[in-house]
């Protein structure tokens, strides 16, 4: 589903964020990217979203080489990849339902399809009764659930999550992880960057540990295990 081949990312000024990383992520997998701040987790997510170009190497997402994707095709890539971020990235002037509907409106879905689909996904994330509220009227956990709903509403085959529990307390984080787990069980591939060891250890899924931009560990049903950098 996602394949990285000798991917390197060097930012302007010479900072090497990702160094010769190769990964194969199968359809339906749940993969944690772990590591200290600056280890390259978020950069990997951004590269998979074509939010940054690679310096070297190639990335395939859903069978397409996105490193050679022309700019005008990037929106099509993003429509097939749901994204969840630490700071929710909700539109403040739109209600919960409108925020979720937005992802479908971009696809040009008719309103007769959008309405029921939004209702369904809000049921799934437990926010059906708050559809008319604005993001500022919701708690952090609820905002993140809206963000997950928006990412999943058009049933993308892949979801990329960058520290989705970073701003949440442990109890709310567990709720979000339950939600992501349910989504993963529908066959959606999930790649999640985190440094929340409790969650990683509890979920017992594939763990890819990064250190200074390199993959130092790749385990099926792995644990967090702090790196030397984090000690």
């Amino acid at each position: 589903m996602i394949r990285l081949e000798n991917v390197t990312k060097v930012y302007e000024g010479g900072t090497v964020a990702v160094n010769d990383v190769s990964l194969d992520i199968q359809k339906g997998e749940f993969v944690f990217l772990v590591g200290a701040s600056g280890s390259g987790k978020s950069t990997l997510i951004r590269l998979m979203l074509r939010d940054e170009p690679v310096t070297r190497g190639r990335i395939w997402v859903a069978g397409k080489d996105i490193t050679r994707l022309p700019k005008w095709k990037i929106p099509y890539l993003r429509r097939s990849v749901g994204t969840v971020f630490q700071d929710y990235k909700l539109l403040p002037n739109k209600t919960v339902a409108e925020n979720v509907a937005f992802a479908l409106e971009v696809l040009g879905r008719p309103s007769s399809v959008i309405g029921p689909q939004v209702g369904q996904i809000l049921e799934l994330v437990g926010l059906a009764d708050k559809a008319g509220r604005y993001p500022r009227q919701l708690s952090g956990g609820e905002q993140q659930r809206v963000s997950v709903a928006r990412a999943f509403v058009n049933r993308p085959p892949i979801m990329l999550c960058d520290e989705p529990t970073g701003n949440l307390d442990p109890k709310t984080s567990v709720e979000i992880m339950r939600l992501l787990d349910r989504i993963n069980r529908t066959g959606t591939t999930i790649v999640m960057a985190t440094h929340d060891h409790a969650i990683v250890d509890a979920m017992k899924r594939r763990v890819v540990a990064l250190e200074n931009g390199r993959v130092v560990r790749d385990e099926v049903a792995g644990r967090y295990e702090r790196t030397a950098e984090e000690e």
Binding site: D51, V106, R109
Partner: protein, 309 residues
């Protein structure tokens, strides 16, 4: 269809949300287009007045009486025929001594002193009144008439004054058109600036739009509609204001005989539509300019996605 409705709704909601910025843009377009349209109106007035001044007699040749000063009988008529054959002459007519007297009485009908002063009406000379095809030929005509010394007593021409006014008007018209162009460009730049402000105020929103896969055109269209509405509203206000001002000026200037200050409604309709069209184009072009830099920068890189790694 639902997508079009959605985009229009987005544009209107953005206009509502950024009322102050929108008012600023509409005022900017209004002021620059009102000045530009005003310059066009002044231009038109000058054109109308030059045309009016050019219309009529440009050269008058006063003649010696026939039968005196060796002027043979029939000399006036034969000179008229000759003048009528000159290329630069549009029209010419002979005003006899008797007609000159009637004209004199008509001009001074309210001035008894003048009428009394002219005891002998036969002193008024006959004349040939000449209308030229182009005012610029007046010197040639004067020269040709002055060659007819035996018949022509004196040549008077209003052409010099008209030519001076024409030259002055030409300068004013060029300046007016230049001003209209500069102000038109200013309207485009001001709209571009406003849209840039609007998009800057909504940069986070735009980044999120890109994140969920909105294409650049999908993001652009509401901003383009916004610019279009601002341009058209500003232009409509400008046309209306200039029309009201011009109408009042025409009413106030009705008593003026030398200057015409009224412009036809057809002219206003035609040029008003063009100004509206320009406002619309300025709105769209301004928005495209305002958006281009931002979206180019944002292409493939949602500007608000965390940069840390």
């Amino acid at each position: 269809m639902s997508r079009i409705v959605y985009l229009i709704r987005e544009a209107l909601s953005s206009l509502r949300r950024n009322v102050l910025i929108v008012i600023g843009a509409v005022l900017a377009v209004f002021i620059s287009l009102a000045l530009a349209f005003g310059a066009l109106v002044v231009n038109e007035l000058l054109g109308l007045n030059i045309a009016a001044w050019q219309d009529g007699t440009h050269v008058v040749a006063f003649l010696y009486d026939e039968g005196q000063n060796n002027v043979p009988v029939g000399a006036h008529e034969s000179l008229l025929q000759e003048v009528l054959e000159w290329d630069e002459v549009e029209n010419a007519r002979l005003v006899s001594k008797a007609e000159a007297w009637i004209e004199f009485q008509r001009i001074f009908e309210n001035d008894q002193q003048m009428l009394d002063a002219l005891r002998d009406p036969t002193v008024l000379p006959a004349s040939i009144r000449i209308e030229l095809q182009d005012i610029r030929f007046h010197e040639t005509t004067r020269f040709r008439l002055e060659q007819q010394q035996q018949v022509v007593r004196q040549v008077n021409t209003a052409a010099e004054s008209i030519e001076q006014l024409q030259n002055l008007s030409q300068v004013l018209r060029t300046l007016g058109l230049g001003l209209a162009v500069v102000l038109g460009v200013a309207a485009v730049v001001l709209i571009a600036n406003t849209i840039q402000l609007a998009i800057y105020a909504r940069r986070e929103e735009v980044a999120i739009m890109k994140l969920v896969g909105a294409s650049n055109w999908y993001i652009r269209v509401p901003f383009l509609l916004e610019g279009l509405i601002e341009g058209v509203v500003g232009a409509a206000l400008a046309v209306f204001a200039v029309w009201v001002a011009s109408d009042n000026l025409a009413k106030a200037g009705q008593s003026l005989e030398l200057f015409k200050l009224d412009i036809s409604n057809q002219w206003f309709f035609r040029w008003g539509l063009l100004v509206l069209l320009f406002g619309a184009i300025a709105g769209v072009v301004g928005s495209l300019l305002g958006l281009s830099r931002y979206l180019r920068d944002a292409d493939g890189t949602g500007p608000d996605i965390p940069k840390g790694f």
